[in-house]
């Protein structure tokens, strides 16, 4: 049975939508001979927050890496604004407006907050543009100006996440890939991060969010997909999945198995 047949049909065949920004079609990817993604179909539209949830090892982070260019797909298509980008380098994809904020602390600990944010515009050479972007970013994230001289390594987890988000805006990206942005944060910082994610979408950007904290991720997302064992098992609006008692039951205490797939197989 193919993956798209297992979805709930709400987003089974979105390829005719003119608002599509990113379309993954039957993407396979992995390290060495092994496949982690086994035919992923996924669409992100303009101004939309899409949340990927699923158990550990399902391939959520691998999806992001395949989109940002850290990993090349073995087969299938990754298209961004109708252009095939699967064979492009990370730098080329950055230039097209795709920014990836990885899961682990991604700041440069021995650089100041300001330098870290400037690094977000590394591929740009227009100094006037960099300066104006810095001003915009500092307005959105006051920590950039308030703690500009502080070493990034000395900031708290929540502060570091704010700086990471600020840095991700330096290229004025169309699509931001966020991997577990709330991991390791205290509740207050977590709330601030999800508020920032909502604000990103409000400003017209798209966000593809991987979130282990399924409830918070689904609450903020317009749409969501459940990834299991390298396949998209379910898609739907964030709200519908949040209110789905089965998804809530399975993913608030997610196991390493593929529960939705198993359930679907049982009923097939």
């Amino acid at each position: 049975m193919a993956a798209n047949e297992r979805t709930d049909g709400s987003n089974a065949n979105p390829t005719t939508d003119s608002d599509e920004l990113l379309v993954l079609s039957t993407v396979t990817a992995g390290y060495g001979a092994g496949l982690i993604l086994k035919g992923v179909d996924l669409t992100v539209r303009k101004g939309e927050i899409v949340c990927l949830i699923g158990p550990n090892g399902a391939g959520k982070s691998t999806v992001l890496k395949t989109i940002s260019g850290l990993l090349r797909p073995k087969s299938g298509s990754v298209s961004f604004r109708s252009e095939e980008i699967g064979g492009m380098s990370s730098r080329q994809r950055l230039g097209r407006g795709i920014v990836h904020v990885p899961q682990d602390r991604s700041l440069f600990p021995g650089m100041s907050v300001w330098e870290n944010v400037v690094m977000g515009a590394f591929i740009l050479s227009d100094q006037a543009l960099i300066k104006s972007r810095l001003e915009q970013v500092a307005e959105t994230f006051p920590i950039v100006a308030n703690r500009r001289a502080a070493m990034a390594g000395s900031l708290s987890g929540g502060e570091q996440k704010q700086v990471e988000l600020a840095r991700s805006l330096m290229l004025d990206p169309a699509l931001i890939l966020l991997d577990e942005p709330s991991i390791g944060l205290d509740p207050k910082s977590r709330t601030a991060v999800f508020a920032s994610i909502s604000a990103l979408a409000d400003s017209g950007r798209s966000v593809l969010l991987v979130e282990q904290n399924a409830r918070s991720g689904l609450a903020v997302a317009h749409r969501a997909a459940v990834l299991e064992a390298g396949l998209v098992a379910l898609t739907g609006s964030g709200e519908s999945l949040l209110n789905d008692p089965e998804v809530a039951r399975l993913y608030l205490g997610a196991s390493a198995k593929a529960p939705v797939l198993e359930k679907l197989a049982d009923t097939a």
């Binding site: 850290l70 990370s90 950055l94 990885p102 440069f108 021995g110 977000g120 840095r167």
Partner: protein
């Protein structure tokens, strides 16, 4: 007391030159996680280039670094591109030891073939001039070698802190995946970093050749000292290797003055052993790693 102060002065001046050699070594390790066993051979190659320029064309050894440094930068970039870049990243730590040792042996072979294995020395007219300051002898070549080391280390610092390339280098050292995700080409940074390491070796080679008699096999002795300095300073920390080089220079000089020159080289390894027993990450390893 006079003897001790004189030994400390000599140690600091010598340590400055080791700092220059070791800064390139630790820069390469910081960027690529490669222990460059060819760094000593780069120094000796730089010394021979300076020797040739001095003997054949009369160019002053200090001025010759304007030629040898860019030349060795190009050699370093080419070697990285041709021999280190193709290594698979999973095996780079082990295989690079073999590759850089092979580079060292290759350089030694070419130099032996070209110059023979006899010891040579670069002897400009001012080689034996000294100043007497408050009763202490300060050798002119050693003093200018120290000043040159400060200038080159200062230039390296400015490159790393103030240029876009320098930011890319520091970013790659501190978080390679993040750097790549922001568009830093890690292969280009590695190639330029290796070139910069070779260039600092060339600058150090010019003064090494004035301070020591050398032959193509001198790199064995040098690399063991350089490894001591970079491990002592904390691998990857340029500031740490500068401090370590000064400590080692002074320690070796004091042992030489107070005990015997025979024990001077050995003191390097005694200090290293003590530091590794008491502080395995080196003097500055934990504190400054990632703060290049």
């Amino acid at each position: 007391m006079h003897e001790i102060v004189q030994a400390i002065i000599l140690g600091i001046l010598t340590g400055g030159v080791y700092a220059l050699m070791a800064s390139g070594q630790t820069l390469i390790f910081g960027i690529m996680k490669v222990v460059n066993l060819a760094q000593g051979a780069f120094v000796v190659l730089g010394a021979y280039l300076t020797y040739t320029l001095f003997v054949d064309t009369g160019i002053d050894p200090f001025l010759s670094i304007l030629i040898t440094t860019p030349l060795m930068f190009v050699v370093g970039v080419a070697l990285q591109w041709a021999l280190l870049r193709p290594l698979h990243s999973d095996d780079v730590a082990q295989l690079s030891l073999l590759v850089t040792f092979a580079i060292a042996l290759g350089i030694e072979g070419v130099l032996s073939f070209t110059y023979s294995t006899s010891l040579v020395n670069i002897q400009p007219a001012y080689a034996n001039f000294s100043w007497t300051v408050f009763g202490y002898q300060i050798n002119m070549v050693r003093f200018f070698a120290f000043v040159l080391s400060l200038v080159v280390l200062g230039a390296l610092y400015l490159i790393l802190q103030k240029t876009k390339f320098g930011r890319a280098v520091r970013a790659t050292v501190q978080n390679p995946m993040s750097a790549q995700l922001l568009g830093v080409d890690s292969q280009r940074v590695s190639a330029f970093g290796f070139g910069l390491g070779a260039a600092t070796a060339a600058a150090a080679g010019s003064v090494f050749g004035m301070l020591n008699a050398f032959n193509p096999g001198s790199h064995y002795d040098l690399i063991s000292r350089l490894l001591t300095v970079v491990v002592l300073g904390g691998l990857g920390s340029i500031g740490g290797s500068v401090v370590a080089a000064l400590v080692m220079g002074v320690a070796a000089s004091l042992v030489s003055a107070l005990a015997s020159p025979i024990w001077s080289d050995f003191s390097f390894f005694v200090v290293l052993l003590l530091v590794l027993l008491l502080r395995p990450q080196g003097l500055f390893g934990a504190r400054t790693r990632g703060a290049l």
